[in-house]
Subunit: 617 residues, 2 copies
C-alpha cells in the first residue's frame, strides 16, 4: 500500500500563487518550520519555502532522523534544540502530525517560546484534503511513464519497478535540477553514480512520492523493467558525462564518472603544476558554460542582489594573481585504510590529490565592497552574535554544488579569496572550474567552488549535503552509524588544512651517486612551511631538507614548498625507509602515524609520509 500522501500549501503570507508554484510539502513525514530572513533557512523540511523581500528563496532540504508522523512538537524540539534565529519578522509555518498546520505571522525568534496556536492559521493557507486510500495498487505502462520526462508538467521517475511523481520534489532536491535528467526513466543509474543516495532516509523521502508500479506486461522474466518495449535506445540514460573534457593519460583515475584523477606523485616536481597534470576532483559532470553568457550573482544578507558578467569583473576591479595550492581533504586516504581501525569511505587517493597554480581574478572582497556590502562592519562584528553575517556561500549552476566559508576568510584585508578566470596564465580549464572559479587560498580545495554562479552572504553555513555532510572529521572511535543529525550539525566543517608533506621522488642515478629525495610540504591558513625534517631510518634520526626558492604570489603563503635533500650513498642503509614531516610557522607538525587521526571518512590523512627505498629501486 502506498504511504498516505495528502497535499497542502504552507506558510505563504506572500502571494499564494508563488507559494503554490514552489511550495508543496509532503505531510506525514516531516515536521518543519520556515523562518523569514532573506536567504537563511535551516532545519527545514522538503518543500517548505520561505518568502523574502524579492523572491522565494530555496530552502535546503535536510532529512531529520526521528522526525516522523509520530513525533510530537515537544519531541522534535527536544531532539533538535532551538533553531537558529532568522534576521527579520515574517512568516512561520509549522507542520506536524498528519493534519495539523499552523502558520504564524510573527518574528521567528519567538516561535520556540510558545506552542503554536492553530487558531492563528493564516487565511492564505489552503489545505487539500487527503485523498482516499486506494485498496488496489495503481500500475502504469512504461510508455506512459516515459512521457513524464523533464519537459512534461508532471515529472515521473522509476526506481526498481516503482513509479514516483516527483514534480513537487524537484525544487527541493538538494542536488538541484540535475534530477530532471532521470524523469521519464529510471533513477537507478543515477543513484548508482551518486552513492550519497544509498541511505534509508533518501528512500523514505522518495516513498512520499510513490504513485504505483510498472505494469506486469512491461517486466521481463526476472521481474525487472523490460526497457526493450520502448524500442532501441530511448530507454538509455543519456550519459551526463558525455561533454566532459579529455584528460591527460598520465593521471591516475580513481573514478571515471564523475572524473576523479590524481597526479602521479613522481610528476609533482614543478612548483606550478602543469594544467594537464593538475588533479581532477569532480562531484558531477563538467558543465559547458559560455563565458560570454556567464553571470555571477552576489546576494547580500538583506536580499539585495548584484549581477556581474565576466567582462564586468575584468573591467571594474583590480586583477590579482595568487599562487595557491589546492588539496583534496581526502588526499592520502589510501594510507589511512591500512590502519587497524579499518577501511574508510571515499576515494583511496595516494599523495597526488594536490597541485599548485597561479590563479588570476578579482578579490571577492573588492566585489563585495562594490556591491554595497559593509565590509568594515562585518569585519568587526562580534563572532558570537548569531545575527551577524558569518558565512559566504558559493554555488555552482543549477544547485549542482554548494559550499561555504567563514566570512572573515574572505573579508580579511590579507585575504586573497578570488573569483578567478585564469589558471597558470591560461583561461581556466572547464575541468578546473572555467569560466569562473572561487579560489579560497589556505582552505581545503572543496571550498574553491568550480563554475561559481552565485555568492551568498549568510549568518549560517551552507546547508547543502556537500557542505554539511561531506567534509567533516570525527574522532578515531566514531563510526558513521553512531552519529545523529545533531552531531553532524555541531561538527566543525573542514576549512583551513593541517600541515602536510610527502615524498614524491627518491632518485639514485647510479649506485655511486647520492640518493636525492624530493617532495612537497604545505600548510593551510597561509602558514608558511618553516622546516622539513627527513629521515632515512624510519624516523629515528633526522636531517633538514633544503626548501626550494620560488616566487609564490599572495599576501600570505598559500602555496606549497618544494624541498629536496641529498643523502650520500654510503649513509643510506640497505633497508632504508625515508620519512618526511614538516613544520609550519605556527609550529604545528604532523602525527607520527594515521592511527590517532583515523576517521571513517578518511579525511585529513597527514601522518609522517614513509617510503621504503626498496619501493623506488
Amino acid at each position: 500500500m502506498p504511504p498516505l500522501r495528502p497535499k497542502f500549501i504552507i506558510g505563504a503570507p506572500k502571494p499564494l500563487a508563488e507559494a503554490q508554484r514552489v511550495g508543496y510539502a509532503p505531510i506525514g513525514r516531516f515536521c518543519g518550520f520556515a523562518s523569514s530572513s532573506a536567504n537563511q533557512g535551516t532545519k527545514i523540511a522538503p518543500g517548505v519555502r520561505q518568502p523574502c523581500g524579492k523572491r522565494w528563496a530555496r530552502i535546503p532540504w535536510q532529512p531529520r532522523r526521528g522526525v516522523g508522523t509520530k513525533t510530537s512538537w515537544e519531541q522534535w524540539h527536544r531532539q533538535h534544540g532551538q533553531p537558529k534565529r532568522s534576521n527579520a519578522a515574517g512568516a512561520l509555518a509549522v507542520v506536524f502530525g498528519a493534519s495539523v498546520i499552523a502558520v504564524l505571522a510573527a518574528p521567528a525568534t519567538s516561535w520556540v517560546k510558545e506552542r503554536v496556536d492553530i487558531k492563528n492559521v493564516d487565511d492564505n493557507i489552503h489545505i487539500d484534503e487527503p485523498e482516499d486510500d486506494q485498496d488496489t495498487e495503481q500500475t502504469y505502462r512504461l510508455a506512459e511513464v516515459a512521457k513524464h520526462d523533464q519537459a512534461a508538467e508532471s515529472k515521473w521517475i522509476i526506481r526498481g519497478t516503482a513509479v514516483y511523481d516527483i514534480t513537487d520534489f524537484v525544487a527541493c532536491h538538494p542536488g538541484g535540477k540535475v534530477i530532471l535528467r532521470a524523469c521519464g526513466g529510471s533513477i537507478d543509474p543515477y543513484w548508482k553514480l551518486f552513492s550519497i543516495h544509498n541511505k534509508p532516509e533518501v528512500q523514505q523521502v522518495l516513498d512520499d512520492f510513490y504513485i504505483g508500479r510498472i505494469d506486469a506486461r512491461d517486466l521481463d522474466a526476472k521481474g525487472n523493467v523490460d526497457w526493450s518495449v520502448l524500442g532501441s535506445d530511448c530507454h538509455a540514460v543519456e550519459d551526463p558525462f558525455k561533454d566532459d573534457p579529455e584528460r591527460d593519460a598520465s593521471l591516475i583515475v580513481q573514478t571515471a564518472k564523475p572524473c576523479n584523477a590524481e597526479t602521479p606523485g613522481n610528476l609533482l616536481v614543478d612548483f606550478l603544476t602543469p594544467l594537464r597534470l593538475f588533479f581532477v576532483r569532480n562531484h558531477l559532470w563538467v558543465p559547458r558554460i559560455d563565458p560570454k553568457e556567464h553571470h555571477l550573482q552576489i546576494e547580500l544578507s538583506d536580499g539585495e542582489e548584484m549581477s556581474y558578467s565576466l567582462e564586468d569583473l575584468k573591467e571594474k576591479f583590480e586583477q590579482h594573481t595568487v599562487t595557491v595550492t589546492l588539496q583534496c581533504a581526502g588526499n592520502r586516504r589510501g594510507e589511512m585504510n591500512n590502519t587497524s581501525n579499518g577501511k574508510t569511505s571515499g576515494l583511496a587517493w595516494s599523495v597526488g590529490a594536490i597541485g599548485t597554480a597561479d590563479f588570476t581574478g578579482v578579490r571577492l572582497r573588492d566585489v563585495l565592497l562594490a556591491s554595497g556590502y559593509d565590509v568594515d562592519k562585518a569585519c568587526t562584528a562580534c563572532p558570537n552574535d548569531p545575527e551577524s553575517d558569518r558565512h559566504i556561500h558559493f554555488c555552482a549552476p543549477s544547485d549542482t554544488y554548494e559550499q561555504s566559508i567563514p566570512l572573515q576568510t574572505a573579508l580579511n584585508p590579507t585575504s586573497d579569496v578570488l573569483l578567478a578566470w585564469e589558471m597558470n596564465g591560461e583561461p581556466m580549464p572547464r575541468d578546473h572550474g572555467g569560466p569562473l572559479r572561487a579560489i579560497v587560498p589556505g582552505s581545503v580545495a572543496t571550498r574553491s567552488v568550480k563554475w561559481v554562479e552565485r555568492v551568498r552572504i549568510s549568518c549560517d553555513e551552507s546547508q547543502s549535503n556537500w557542505h554539511n555532510r561531506d567534509y567533516k572529521c570525527f574522532g578515531p572511535n566514531v563510526r558513521a552509524a553512531d552519529l545523529c543529525q545533531k552531531d553532524w550539525d555541531e561538527a566543525q566543517s573542514i576549512q583551513e588544512l593541517p600541515v602536510q608533506s610527502a615524498i614524491t621522488n627518491i632518485i639514485r642515478s647510479t649506485k655511486q651517486s647520492p640518493v636525492s629525495v624530493q617532495g612537497f610540504a604545505y600548510s593551510g591558513g597561509g602558514r608558511r612551511i618553516v622546516r622539513v625534517d627527513v629521515s632515512c631510518d624510519g624516523g629515528k634520526t633526522w636531517r633538514q631538507a633544503c626548501l626550494r626558492k620560488d616566487d609564490a604570489k599572495g599576501t600570505r603563503r598559500w602555496a606549497w614548498t618544494l624541498w629536496n635533500i641529498d643523502w650520500p650513498k654510503d649513509q643510506v642503509p640497505e633497508d632504508a625507509e625515508f620519512v618526511v614531516k614538516a613544520v609550519d610557522e605556527a609550529h604545528n607538525g604532523q602525527p607520527q602515524t594515521m592511527d590517532g587521526i583515523w576517521n571513517f571518512r578518511g579525511l585529513l590523512g597527514n601522518a609522517w609520509h614513509r617510503v621504503p627505498m626498496a619501493s623506488q629501486s
Copy 2:
C-alpha cells in the same frame, strides 16, 4: 698584555658633538656598518650609532662569529650576506682592519655593491691615534674602582681581577642600562644571574674595554679580590630583586631570581586563572613603575613619535576586554628532557606555565591609527617587499626586554592585540606587567611584553637577544654548537603556538564512582579547539571529552578550552594510562611523542599528554 684599544669616532655626518657623545667604536675587533633609517639597525658593531631625523637611535649590538681583525671585507660580506636595507639615504660607516675607516654619505642600499673607497672618508671623522702599547700592566686599587660607579662619568667594572672601563659600552649593552648596577664593583654576580653572558663572544667584547688589573694589595691569599678592604657591605651587590612582589606559596618555583614559577596542574581548574595562581615568567626583576608617570611611546617607521599616558589611553580610545591564554614556549619542557635525545636547556616546566585571563585595555590598532599610522596601506603591503613595515617591537623600560611580532598580527581587523592595564578586572599586577602590558592573543606569551614603554614599527624583527636567540626552534638533530649566526637569523621566531593539551586532574571520589578526567586544550592563532580525544589505555582507543562552555571574549578564540570526561570505574584498567590529544579548527593535532619534536632549547613540547592512573591514586 691588554688588547689594542684605539678610539675613534665613526659615521657621523650629523653633528659631531652628538656622535662624540654616543659613538665610540672599539676597533680591532669588529667590522660594522651603520645604515641610516630612523630606527632600523642590523648587523652592527657595538658602539656604532646611526643618525636619524630627530635623534640618535640606539643600535642593538650583535657579536658576529668570525668577524675579527683578520676578517677582510669580502670575507665578512661572504659570511653575513647582504645586509638588510634601510629606509632612507644617509650615512654609512664601515670599519675594518685595524686602522681603515671609511664613511660614505650615500644611500645605504648601495653599499654592498661597491667596495668602500677610503678616499670618501668624511671630514667630520676624527681618528684618535692608537695609544702606544704599554709594556707593563696598569693596576688599580679597589677603592679607586669603587669610585667609578654608575654616578661617575667614567664607569668601571671588575671581572675576576680584571678592570674594564665600560663607559663607551653602556649605551650599546643589549640588556640596556641594567649594566650600570655593576659599575664600581664586580660584574661577576650579574653574569652568574644572567647566564646569557657565559659565551666567549661576550668576554671578547669585554676585552676591548680592558684597562688593567686589581692591585695585588687588594687580593686575598687565593688571589681573589678581597672586598673586605672596602669595609662592610659596600662591596655587596645590591639585590635587584628586592622589590619583587610576594608570590602565592602554592606556585611551583623553578627559579626564585628572576622569578619563574608555574601553577600546579591540579589547580588549573578555572576557566579564568586566579591572579594569585597565574604562572610567573620573568627574565629580570620586577620594576616598580608609577602608573601616573608611565608613558607609552609610539614610534613610527618615519621616526615620528607619539606619547600617551595611561590616562590618555583610557580616555581617548575604546576599551576592550579579551580573554587570552598565555603560555610559555617552554611549557612541558620537563617531559622533553626524558627522550633519548637528552636534556634540553631551560626551565623544566611541567604543564603549568600556562594560564588564562580577561585582559582589558585598548587595541594597539586603534592607537596606531590615532598616531597617524597608515594602517590600510600597511595591511595591503606586499609581504615580500623589504621596504615595507613588517614588525612591531615592544620594549620594556631601560631596554630590559624587547620582542617583536609581525605587523599583521596587530593590524588585522580581527586582531585583538591590546595595550592592557587590567587583568581579570583588577589593575594589572606588577608581576604580570603592570601598569601596562602588551597582550598578543594567540601568540607565545613572551611576545606579550610586560611593563611596555615603547612600541616601534620596523621593517625588521627585533634584534634583541630575547627575540633573536631565545624563542627559536630547530630540528631534533640540531645542537646549539652546530649553529652559526646565519642559522639563527634565518630561523623562524616562534609566534603563533601549536595545538596543546594536558590532563590536570584525575579524580576518583570513591572506588565505586566514575573516574573523572579533566584538563585544558589550546591552540594558537585564534584557532578554536574542535575536539579533545581521551584514552585510558595509553592511546589505543579513544573517546571524546566534553568541551566546557565558557564566555571567552574576543574576535577570535584566544582562550583555552577546558574539558572533562567521566570513565565508568569498571572500564578503567588497573594499569590505566590516561592520554589526551586535541584538534583545532585547522585540524592540526599533537604529535604522539616528544621524540620527533625534540629541540635543544626544549621549546614547544606538545606531544600527547600521558598520565598513569597510578600517579593520581
